[in-house]
């Protein structure tokens, strides 16, 4: 009983001890915040990676792919049928993207992915990253009239406006064709007729929205129109494609600008499947933009319909009527069983023709790097708490020395060494509880209000603390794992108690007579 009474009295009369615990508080709070942010970041990143990568991909090692995906899917079904939710054949091939800007052709390297037209089965999150609300419901490579998102929908009202996105879609396409027509007429020296050009446009309100400067911004290449001119309806979209948003957008003065909008045509050049491969080109109409916020994907992927790509690359066999694909994307019922499925498939198919990998394998280095960072940060922060432990140790020694006489008195009253030790151990435990508890509350509050704090800090220093244009996050993602918090608190408590063990032992071993004599 006296242990608790004295421990409580010492706590109440010795505020200096609380100073030693502040470092524990700060350490615990920092650890909670860092872990929450890192976990949030990892989770967000994994979500994004999984939005595009299927759980397991079964790939040919050659760009020419393998014959008869249906047969392969049946074989896979036989081996791991129970695990599979859905399989999608795809074709992946490196390509060049070409588009016109200010009358000049821009080209850049891309990864071209052919996916089935309905795109339903392909990694389920794919549609969520499209910019048209309808496409997020259902996507069939069709161009919408208009109505593409005017802002990054993850950014809320704060997100910068997307320049000229309001006309994107068919409206933009018709406008462009109209401008082109007028341009050609001007070149031909004809006077500009004013009334007749809207006849084809079904009196769309689009013309009212037309940006008069658009033409100035993009002077048109007169030769580019030839393709369209050949069409019966010049405004009818060609085969649809989806561009990674990073390929054609940039930020300037806080606004998002686009080099290519939905409705524009682009040209894709890629190798055929023959030997030797020849380059083929075709023109596609951009029907939507893809934004997963994974820069790596957003700035390299272009999605086109699978059948069109197979046709252009010659990936079919006329005699047998079978097609070729380069990979089969497998979505599992339980993602966590990916490595088991991978191992079974690897064992069943000749490894020199096929490679099987999970999404974790593909993003292994990235995920490992984040894990490594988290581990190192945790280690460093835990060292901070350990250093705080030495502070507790020093202050406890001081208190034991100060209380030497009291210890002697207690021993003369018959208190056992273990009881004396109990006083100081429970003292350490109480301080640890206060420190770790305060740290936990502080840390959780910080995590909860991290974005307010970020904005406030930004206003205070006049500098963007977490610039969305760099990180592609509008908010710092956080995820609090209760177990992590529990372990941090337990660890801090253990350190506080461990630091009080030595002084407590010393107190317990004090010789009563010497302690009583101590002045």
């Amino acid at each position: 009983m006296y242990k608790f009474l004295l421990c409580w009295r010492y706590l109440r009369t010795r505020w200096i001890a609380l100073a030693s615990i502040i470092s524990v508080t700060l350490g615990v709070a920092t650890m909670i915040v860092v872990n929450a942010v890192m976990a949030g970041f990892t989770q967000e990143m994994q979500d994004r990676i999984r939005g595009i990568l299927s759980d397991v991909s079964f790939e040919a090692r050659s760009f020419n792919g393998f014959r008869d995906p249906e047969y392969h899917m049946r074989e896979i079904e036989k081996i791991v049928g129970d695990e599979i939710e859905v399989m999608t054949p795809t074709v992946t091939v490196p390509a060049m993207l070409s588009f016109q800007l200010h009358g000049e052709w821009n080209t850049r390297p891309v990864q071209l992915i052919g996916i089935p037209r309905d795109a339903m089965q392909y990694a389920s999150k794919f549609r969520q990253y499209l910019q048209h609300p309808k496409h997020r419901e259902q996507f069939r490579f069709e161009l919408q009239e208009t109505g593409y998102d005017l802002r990054d929908r993850h950014g809320g009202e704060d997100a910068p406006l997307r320049v000229r996105m309001e006309t994107a879609g068919m409206v933009h396409r018709r406008n462009m064709i109209e401008y082109r027509r007028q341009w050609e007429q001007q070149l031909a020296g004809k006077p500009l007729p004013h009334a007749e050009q809207t006849v084809n446009d079904d009196s769309q309100p689009a013309n009212d929205v037309v940006d008069p400067f658009a033409a100035v911004e993009r002077p048109l290449d007169p030769f580019a129109a030839r393709n369209d001119a050949a069409q019966a309806d010049p405004a009818a979209p060609l085969t649809g494609c989806v561009l990674g948003i990073g390929l054609v957008s940039y930020r300037h003065n806080g606004a998002e600008h686009f080099l290519v909008l939905p409705g524009d045509d682009i040209q894709l050049t890629f190798p055929t499947a023959g030997t030797p491969p020849k380059a083929v080109s075709d023109t596609f109409t951009v029907v939507d933009l893809y934004e997963s916020k994974m820069t790596e994907y957003d700035s390299s992927f272009i999605f086109v319909p699978l059948d069109k790509l197979q046709e252009l690359r010659g990936m079919f066999d006329r005699e047998s009527g079978t097609t070729f694909v380069t990979s089969i994307q497998i979505k599992l019922k339980d993602e966590s069983r990916g490595s088991i499925v991978r191992d079974k498939l690897q064992a069943a198919f000749p490894p020199h023709f096929y490679s099987v990998s999970t999404w974790r394998d593909k993003q292994g280095p990235l995920l490992a790097a984040v894990e490594m960072e988290t581990a190192i940060l945790n280690m460093l922060l835990f060292l901070i708490i350990a250093v705080a432990g030495f502070g507790i140790l020093a202050i406890f020694f001081m208190i034991v020395v100060e209380k030497t006489k009291d210890i002697g008195i207690l021993k003369s009253l018959g208190a056992h060494g273990s009881g004396i030790m109990g006083i100081f151990l429970s003292y350490g435990l109480s301080l640890g509880l206060v420190g770790a508890g305060a740290g936990m509350v502080l840390g959780l509050l910080f995590v909860r209000h991290i974005n307010e704090i970020r904005i406030w800090l930004g206003n205070l220093t006049g500098q963007m603390v977490f610039d969305p244009s760099i990180y592609y996050f509008y908010e710092i993602p956080t995820s609090v794992n209760p177990w992590t918090v529990a372990w941090i608190v337990i660890g801090a408590l253990a350190i506080a108690v461990a630091a009080s063990v030595m002084p407590a032992l010393r107190a317990a071993r004090l010789h009563p007579v010497e302690a009583l004599r101590y002045e």
Binding site: M1, L5, R9, G408, K411, S412, L413, G414, G419, L516
Partner: protein, 298 residues
């Protein structure tokens, strides 16, 4: 040597100090103690024997029935202190008997070893040689836990510097030994009764108005009274006092002495008091003088 002191309030035929160079003839020898031939046994006067403490003594089997009322006995106690390489002998073979119900004073100069003797008797320290018997049981070689228990339940101690715990109030200080005796729940259960007892005891020592005061808010005399109450709360068989008046002025010291004396007479409390003040010592039933670590024959 036979130094006689007529113990004043205890009665005209009060006990006399009679350290004799005679082998113990009482029951102590029956316990087969070492043949410390210098053993000093007091020639038990009639008065000393008759003062048998009422059997409030708890679990100890018999109140040293065969010892003729000897409650505490030291035989051939030796104790050295080590200061670096030097060995300083403090006690060089002390024999002492304390009888039931007497107020014994141990007098000596500074450095004569009287405090060390008291610490040994109180089991706060272990002798290098010799034996200590309490209630017919040898206690100097008992385990630490047994000695802690003995101090807690059967011995009371007061000190020159009171040694109250500064963080606790007078009442809590008095309750401290009981808190040590009882565990958390056991104390909680009996708290009301124990607190009543402590209050009553503080009332007895004249501190009924100081229950909630911290030691630093009390005078020296009050602190010593609180310390006495603390020593008595467990109803010990013997009170060991180390210079109880050493830090008090004459009048206050006299007040403490009167309190001790009245406890001695009214509750039949055995008291061993160490002092360097012969005026204080003269109020005891019996006086033993320590000179250079030995009982003096002066």
């Amino acid at each position: 040597m036979n130094k006689h002191h007529s113990a004043n309030p205890a009665g005209p035929h009060g006990p006399t100090v009679a350290p004799l160079r005679a082998q113990a003839r009482d029951g102590a020898s029956a316990h087969g103690q070492a043949a410390a031939t210098t053993a000093v046994t007091t020639a038990t006067t009639a008065a000393g024997v008759q003062r048998v403490r009422p059997a409030t003594a708890p679990d100890h089997e018999a109140v040293a029935a065969s010892a003729g009322g000897v409650l505490l006995k030291a035989v051939g106690l030796k104790k050295d202190y080590h200061k670096g390489k030097h060995v300083v002998p403090v006690l060089r073979g002390v024999d002492l008997e304390v009888r039931q119900g007497e107020l014994l004073a141990v007098i000596g100069q500074s450095g004569s070893g009287k405090s060390t003797l008291l610490h040994l008797l109180a089991t706060l320290d272990r002798p290098d040689e010799g034996e200590i018997w309490f209630n017919g049981q040898r206690i100097d070689n008992a385990s630490t836990r047994q000695r802690d228990r003995l101090r807690n339940r059967h011995l009371g101690m007061i000190f020159q510097f009171y040694h109250l715990l500064p963080e606790l109030t007078a009442l809590e200080n008095v309750l401290a030994p009981l808190m040590i005796t009882h565990g958390f729940f056991s104390y909680r259960l009996q708290r009301r009764r124990l607190v009543e007892r402590a209050k009553a005891l503080l009332e007895t020592v004249g501190l009924g108005h100081r229950l909630k005061h911290r030691p630093r808010e009390m005078s020296g005399g009050e602190m010593q009274r609180a310390a006495i109450a603390r020593a008595l709360i467990t109803e010990p068989q013997i009170l060991l006092a180390d210079e109880p008046t050493g830090n008090l002025d004459g009048r206050t010291g006299q007040g403490i002495m009167e309190l001790l004396r009245s406890l001695n007479t009214q509750s039949n409390l055995t008291i061993v008091m160490v002092t360097h003040d012969s005026a204080i010592a003269s109020q005891a039933d019996r006086v033993v003088q320590l000179v250079d670590g030995q009982v003096s024959d002066s």
